[in-house]
Symmetry: C2
Subunit: 546 residues, 2 copies
């Protein structure tokens, strides 16, 4: 019997439960009503995590499988892993090995289908069709070194990669001969590269980044032995420019390397680039004494497609600190920024993680080294690079184009607002930043539910990221199940709503203390046709007919 929460967290069974496991699962579970989980329980709930979590729900004390507890490192996926066995001598005759592997793969495929169906917590667009590219799967495509310089290895996809980069050059307004970039393995590689370029340009620079920045930003500082300063954030998750100003003033003796978030990981907040530039000017940093890396992992690819001149325009207006309403700052190399990175597997959608890193040609000379072996200079982090990823990106950018992305962004933003309003109606504390499709809400009290919907959690909040693959039906199912689960967690009918005022502010918290606020009341009764309750869009068409 597993007794500690840590152990349970590290022993999750991720394969679809075998018939034996299912049977044992059924045997070990008390009737649903007592348990606080209903028939909505996913098939693949880890047995051990149930054992650890569910009993505590009975006491009204939600257990946290992956809360603030620390993990036992390296323990212990071994039990659930798929062991590799030596083929038998007669395998080719009997076909036993092939049969075994086919069965493993079929089960795995089924499990992925299920997991994909319920996924809501991570900003990955799971809706893509790359069937046309399956003909390339059996080539070992490797874009060694610099994308712009031919290496001797011929099985590459540089022509696709550079096509993709040129597209981003137009988007971010940098001339073809003034930019340098490459397709990375993920958003983290973009951040690692951008910050490294910053450090090479300003070797004694101090890294400034908000505490809501992606963890890879601070990881970079540690890897690169840079001095790093954490800057406070506003409730929205946006960098607190007052605190930034204070800290920049303190560190004024040294140059500044800044990480600016276009969409923070947890709250989807957009740092105000223009305001940051003003702060730098005010404190007295000239352009040769700062370097800005823009981490646009998710929204870097959404913000440019918010359609102007329509309903959606309102979402690119935002309030500055002074309360003044202005346009959201545009990401462009016409401003003094050094690099931008975005993820490719997030908004665009891709079978494997990838991203785009983009910087000025003049900066890259600091990093580059002439590596004759590859007949190429290597200014990338990784050297060998997945040549399939650029083809996936090239394919989607070509097929969707600006108009396709505009449609996708519009649908995501509308549906995110729809989700927000449905949660408000249900008296669940919820926050949605403008320009964002990341809906932040109270962390559900049921870990099985969190695992089923694969919600990303931090402290008392969780989030759902509304990507193009998220439909209104999915959101409806999610909300209904969440309401049901919450009801069952409090069998006496008195639902205790947790206070998340510190995370989302009084206007968004639904606890007994804050839900009385006039603002919260106002929006719990949706007004049809009002912009606060935009009609959800289903497959590009508003389901209300609007």
């Amino acid at each position: 019997m597993v007794s500690t929460v840590e152990d349970a967290a590290t022993r999750c069974v991720t394969l679809p439960a075998s018939p034996v496991l299912k049977a044992s699962l059924k045997r070990s579970l008390p009737p649903p009503m007592t348990l606080g989980v209903s028939e909505a329980l996913p098939d693949e709930i880890p047995l051990d995590s149930l054992k650890a979590v569910l009993p505590s729900l009975e006491n009204g004390q939600p257990g946290h499988v992956n809360g603030n507890k620390s993990f036992m490192l390296g323990k212990n996926m071994h039990g659930s892993s798929l062991e590799i066995t030596e083929p038998e001598h007669d395998d080719e005759v009997t076909g036993e090995k092939d049969a075994y592997m086919a069965s493993v793969l079929a089960r795995y495929r089924k499990s992925l289908t299920e997991k994909t169906k319920y996924h809501l917590g991570y900003p990955y667009n799971l809706d893509f069709d790359y069937g046309a590219l399956s003909q390339l799967q059996h080539f070992s495509i490797n874009n060694l070194g610099d994308p712009f310089i031919e290496s001797n290895y011929g099985v590459h996809s540089r022509q696709f990669e550079v096509g993709v980069l040129d597209w981003f050059a137009r988007l971010w307004e940098l001339e073809k001969d003034e930019y340098w970039g490459y397709i990375t393995n993920c958003g983290t590689e973009g951040n690692l590269h951008g910050i490294l370029v910053g450090r090479e340009v300003l070797p004694d620079g101090i890294l400034y980044a908000s505490r809501d920045s992606h963890y890879s930003v601070f990881k970079a500082a540690r890897m690169y032995r840079m001095e790093a300063v954490k800057v406070d954030t506003l409730l929205s998750g946006e960098i607190d420019c007052a605190d930034l100003e204070r800290k920049l003033t303190e560190g004024k003796d040294k140059p500044a390397i800044l990480n600016v978030n276009i969409g923070t990981t947890v709250k989807g907040a957009v740092d105000d680039l223009d305001l940051i530039l003003k702060v730098l000017e005010r404190v007295g940093y000239t352009e040769d004494r700062f370097y800005i890396h823009v981490d646009g992992a998710l929204f870097g690819l959404m913000m440019p497609f918010v359609k102007k001149g329509t309903w959606d325009l309102r979402y690119i207006r935002k309030k500055s600190l002074s309360g003044e309403v202005h346009e959201a700052p545009k990401v462009t190399f016409k401003k003094p920024i050094g690099s931008v990175s975005v993820s490719g597997h997030k908004f665009i959608g891709c079978p494997m993680p990838c991203g785009v890193q983009f910087t000025r040609m003049k900066h890259i000379h600091c990093l580059s080294r002439n590596v004759e072996y590859l007949a190429s200079r290597d200014a990338t982090i990784m050297g060998s690079r997945n040549g399939h990823a650029p083809i996936f990106l090239w394919y989607t950018l070509n097929r969707k184009g600006y108009r396709g992305f505009q449609k996708d962004v519009q649908r995501c933003l509308r549906n995110a607002h729809y989700l927000k309003e449905r949660l408000r109606e249900a008296k669940i504390g919820v926050m949605l930043n403008e320009l964002s499709s990341t809906v932040v809400f109270e962390r559900p009290l049921n870990e099985a539910f969190i695992l089923k919907w694969q919600l990303a959690c931090q402290g008392k909040i969780a989030h759902a990221v509304v990507m193009p693959s998220v439909t209104v039906e999915k959101l409806d199912n999610f909300v209904e199940e969440l309401i049901e689960v919450r009801k069952r967690a409090f069998p006496d009918g008195r639902v205790e709503i947790p206070c998340i005022v510190e995370e989302v502010g009084p206007l968004n918290c639904a606890c007994s203390l804050h839900r009385g606020s006039p603002t919260f009341q106002a929006v719990t009764t949706p007004v049809k046709g009002d912009w606060r309750v935009p009609a959800p869009i289903k497959n590009g068409k508003s389901i209300s007919g609007a």
Copy 2:
């Protein structure tokens, strides 16, 4: 008209030549005999590189497209890139866009088939069949963070990843609860991780690595702001332990972080781990004052499969500095090493670059950070990780097993020896290290030939890496074409063989000064059945019937 070599190098056209390009190529070429290239010219030779290279051949001065010249950075794949265009409004009706993209992909596929056919210079096994896995291509599989700790994102392949890692644990003799590792994006990530772990364990350690180490090793030192010392190499490419001893003695005040190569990039040399350990002991470094990272990118996965008790055993014997013959040092965690990395796309074969990084659990605690967002600790470099790669590796390891790898290694080593002897016969300077399938030889004088066979070059030498996908037929074609190309480069019939004695030593150089050496003479006349001329193996069976 492109006139400089640098420009040519950076303007290679990598797509299959269009009919127009082919016609213009034909028009612009003088008859083959004058040119020094024959009908063996590949279809896709870059037009500009021909213009720049071939005329110089006419003067008997070979041009170097990618020799010691430095490159114009970031210039200029733009011309040959595949531009992304906005879809037309009526694309869905006319099917124009689909037709365009299908044609691009079909041409690209054809070009990859050709490139794959002639590839010889990089250590990638291009022979794999992952048809059974194509059913998984449409899932966005991402192994976020630590492989051993379940993240909330459900669409992952940790169970495969850990299965693969457990297999390596058996190979490298470390207990399941004592190791930590993950599937990386490439060999470079393994080196970056291993050296980072070393630095975290010994923060003021000096990095020692031979000058033949992969460039990522010195890149790591620069990224991590570590003091780094380059150690000399022997002619074989192996680290010079006498020089290492001198340098370790000089730096004795600080701990040592050592990179040990199991197969150097250019010459395929294996550093002598046991001798290095002896040197460390002699200089007085105790185990708490050094950290060894083993870069086994290619041979790390071949050496363990050299079959004992057979013909091949001779190849795992090697001479030490003192001239004494002993067994090649085995890579195992029973020795005081800190980490090992290998590439997955090299000997195993994989559609995209990947690798395995492996270290001791006790070391990884230094690196790890508790990142709640992922419900995981992140001790990896990349965070988001390609979830398809572990499945590819799992699939091959399961199907081939130890026996399959043994067969592959045996074939590669035999065929590498076959290539070496064929080149010797042709009076071409050539070197092949024991334990290695990397055949080093005089850099061919024809850049078109180098590009066709995708040879990796350094200074006056080139190499071919005999992988499981390299057949005897391919080697025969290669040698015949090389002989032909060399003959044509010297129309008067007097072939001038370049001296590469500094690169490969007097026993292996075929220039007029050195080819008279008794050793060179002895092996130019192959003796059937002698171990120096092993019968080549074709599809696992010796073609001589031996």
